[in-house]
């Protein structure tokens, strides 16, 4: 990316003050892909949050379904419901569009909540490791290393086969799988911050450990953690979809995108592509747009890549 690409934003520069936030926005806007990704993500998030108001049907409400509308191809109109099924219907006569939007809701919820919880756990553990160093540090980092040497999908698969199905259980599995990434990142940047003068100053003021860690060091460790959050949210959504596809994720009563795809997979080979493909497209759009944003954030917030 060249710097000159930001020039069209120039007029704002002359008149207004060049705040870090504005610089951040213009840096971000340098990548068209990232802007498209952000836009895509906002649209998807909007649909998910306002699902009950934008969908033609509540897919969880069995009373709204008509069993004569089973497996209709895209574009058909339901006889009794009068809804045009733009994306077809599934084996229960559910409007796929509504099912997908509700599915996104489950997927995004799982991704976001697991990311926030693992961020909280991982950041604290990483900070503690970096701040106290020595034995505490080596024990914590050994655990992190071991955890990271096992592929996430495998650990999550086993945890869920033990815990059973359910949104809460998927969350537990995702947090257990993901906290280590945050811990390692937090420790890495906290180690650097720890030796800065402002920390020394705070120590001289005899401030408590907790205060130095969370009020002084933590805010300065946030940029790399934010990058990890975006990437991990996308990862969590993909992982949840995979687990649900394998049949150990969310229950059928609250199908996420992965489960919808899994249900449709049985019909794929007989040519009824829409039951599986459209949720798949929605899933891919969600994950890719988050990753596009994450990729650009990493480029901006990584000091080594800064010119």
């Amino acid at each position: 990316m060249t710097r000159s690409a930001a020039e069209p934003l120039g007029p704002a520069r002359g008149r207004r003050e060049d705040t870090p936030f504005r610089r951040f926005v213009s840096d971000f806007a340098e990548s068209k892909l990232a802007v498209i990704g952000l836009f895509g993500f906002l649209v998807i998030a909007f649909l998910a949050i306002f699902a009950p108001f934008v969908t033609p049907q509540n897919p969880y409400d069995l009373a709204q379904l008509d069993i004569f509308d089973v497996r209709l191809p895209p574009g058909e109109v339901g006889r009794s419901t009068g809804i045009t099924y733009w994306l077809g219907t599934d084996a229960q006569g559910r409007d796929m569009l509504s099912a997908i939007i509700y599915g996104i809701r489950v997927s995004l919820f799982v991704g976001a909540v697991s990311a926030v919880i693992s961020l909280a756990i991982g950041a604290v553990v990483g900070l503690v490791a970096a701040y106290f160093g020595g034995r505490v540090d080596s024990v914590i980092m050994r655990v992190v290393d071991i955890q990271l040497s096992f592929p996430a999908i495998l650990v999550a698969l086993i945890l869920l086969s033990v815990l059973g199905q359910g949104v809460d259980k998927v969350l537990i599995a995702l947090v257990i799988v993901q906290w280590a990434y945050y811990a390692r990142t937090a420790r890495g940047s906290a180690l650097v911050e720890r030796n800065r003068e402002y920390v020394e100053a705070a120590t001289c003021l005899a401030l408590g450990h907790r205060r130095i860690m969370f009020r002084h060091i933590m805010p300065n460790c946030m940029p790399p953690l934010i990058v990890i959050v975006t990437i991990q949210v996308a990862d969590a959504i993909a992982l949840e979809a995979t687990l649900s596809f394998l049949g150990v994720g969310v229950p059928v009563t609250e199908p996420s995108l992965g489960l919808l795809i899994s249900i449709g997979f049985d019909y794929l080979l007989s040519g009824k592509y829409w039951i599986s493909v459209f949720p798949g497209v929605a899933l891919a759009l969600a994950i890719v747009s988050i990753n596009l944003v994450g990729d650009q954030l990493r480029d901006i917030l990584n000091p080594r890549l800064r010119k």
């Binding site: 495998l154 698969l157 979809a241 080979l269 890719v288």
Partner: protein, 325 residues
């Protein structure tokens, strides 16, 4: 050096023990397998006999020690479903999984390295940027989704390639292989592409970063100054230097490829150990799940141990740092 290796081996052993306890205790909580194995018409005493025959009436810690004792003898119990030794069931399926994993890694290297070099040589060009954007896709798209799309495009719509199974296999050196028959090749194509995609993206990124790092080096300038052809500079001088990280990471990723084969095998009904795992989880076939996990844990721990030790041999800084800690 020796101290370092001994310490690492002990650590690896500890990890295996801890994981075996976690796996065993964890899987034990799944529920009694007797519930699925018996039929409702069985009498109370018959049920008890089944429970006893499977050793499920003893306390869990005793079951664990029996399990460990047997495991050391290479016996991880009998499958509840197949009635065969669990280890044997898995070992029988290892060739299918390894074949898929190795073919995928080769695919990712063969496709990823040239693309990555290209993107590294021309980072600002349209093609270079498209490759990088493509690699984001490769990273983000979930494995099963890619498999599904490939099945839809090439198996359902075009009808060119089969959607499931391994095809005709031929015995080579005592191992069943699909890649030696045309039918088998057709069968392995889609699953291996599916499994290779995310690794290809990784290789592309590594190769690109490597090229960008190597190009400004003096020895490249020197090679060019000697009047070597561009092709020779790239394929000999650059390629050699970027291969080190690529080979290391590919080696480390073998574990994750085998893990993700679970998903790919399920999608393509590939008869490997991953599919066996998913089927066994579904059937609550505890011995098979435990045996698979122990085998995978063992494989991953050994893999990491070998890489760690190789590293410390090659790079003295690693073991010096370790000694200080």
């Amino acid at each position: 050096m020796l101290v370092y290796i001994i310490r690492r081996v002990l650590q690896a052993g500890l990890v295996i023990v801890v994981m075996s306890v976690l796996v065993y205790v964890g899987i034990f909580l799944v529920g009694s397998p007797v519930d699925i194995l018996i039929n409702p018409e069985m009498s109370e005493s018959e049920m008890e006999a089944v429970t006893k025959a499977l050793g499920l009436d003893r306390p869990i810690w005793e079951q664990y020690f029996i399990f460990v004792g047997n495991a050391l003898k290479g016996d991880l119990g009998k499958s509840f479903v197949f009635g065969q030794s669990a280890i044997k069931l898995i070992v029988e399926r290892i060739p299918a999984t390894m074949e898929l994993a190795i073919v995928s890694i080769i695919v990712s290297l063969v496709v990823g390295i040239p693309l990555g070099i290209w993107a590294g040589l021309k980072p600002e060009s349209v093609s270079g940027r498209s490759i990088m954007a493509g690699s984001i896709l490769g990273f983000s798209l979930p494995n099963f989704w890619v498999g599904l799309m490939l099945i839809m495009l090439f198996a359902v719509m075009a009808g060119w390639l089969p959607a499931a199974g391994r095809g005709r296999t031929e015995v080579v050196l005592g191992i069943d292989l699909s890649i030696v028959t045309l039918d088998g090749l057709k069968h392995i194509l889609l699953p291996s592409i599916t499994l290779a995609l995310s690794k290809t993206a990784l290789v592309v990124r590594l190769a690109r970063a490597g090229v960008r790092e190597v190009l400004p080096m003096d020895y490249i300038k020197f090679a060019r100054a000697k009047g070597l052809s561009n092709r020779r500079v790239i394929f000999v001088h650059v390629l050699k230097n970027i291969m080190i990280p690529i080979v290391t990471v590919t080696g480390l990723e073998l574990g994750s490829v085998v893990a993700f084969a679970v998903v790919t095998e399920t999608v393509f009904a590939w008869p490997g150990m991953g599919k066996l795992l998913i089927d066994s989880i579904g059937n609550l076939d505890r011995p098979v799940v435990v045996a698979y996990l122990m085998l995978i844990v063992f494989l991953l721990v050994i893999l990491n141990l070998v890489v760690d030790i190789l590293y410390s041999v090659l790079d003295p800084r690693v073991r010096l740092q370790e000694q200080r800690a």
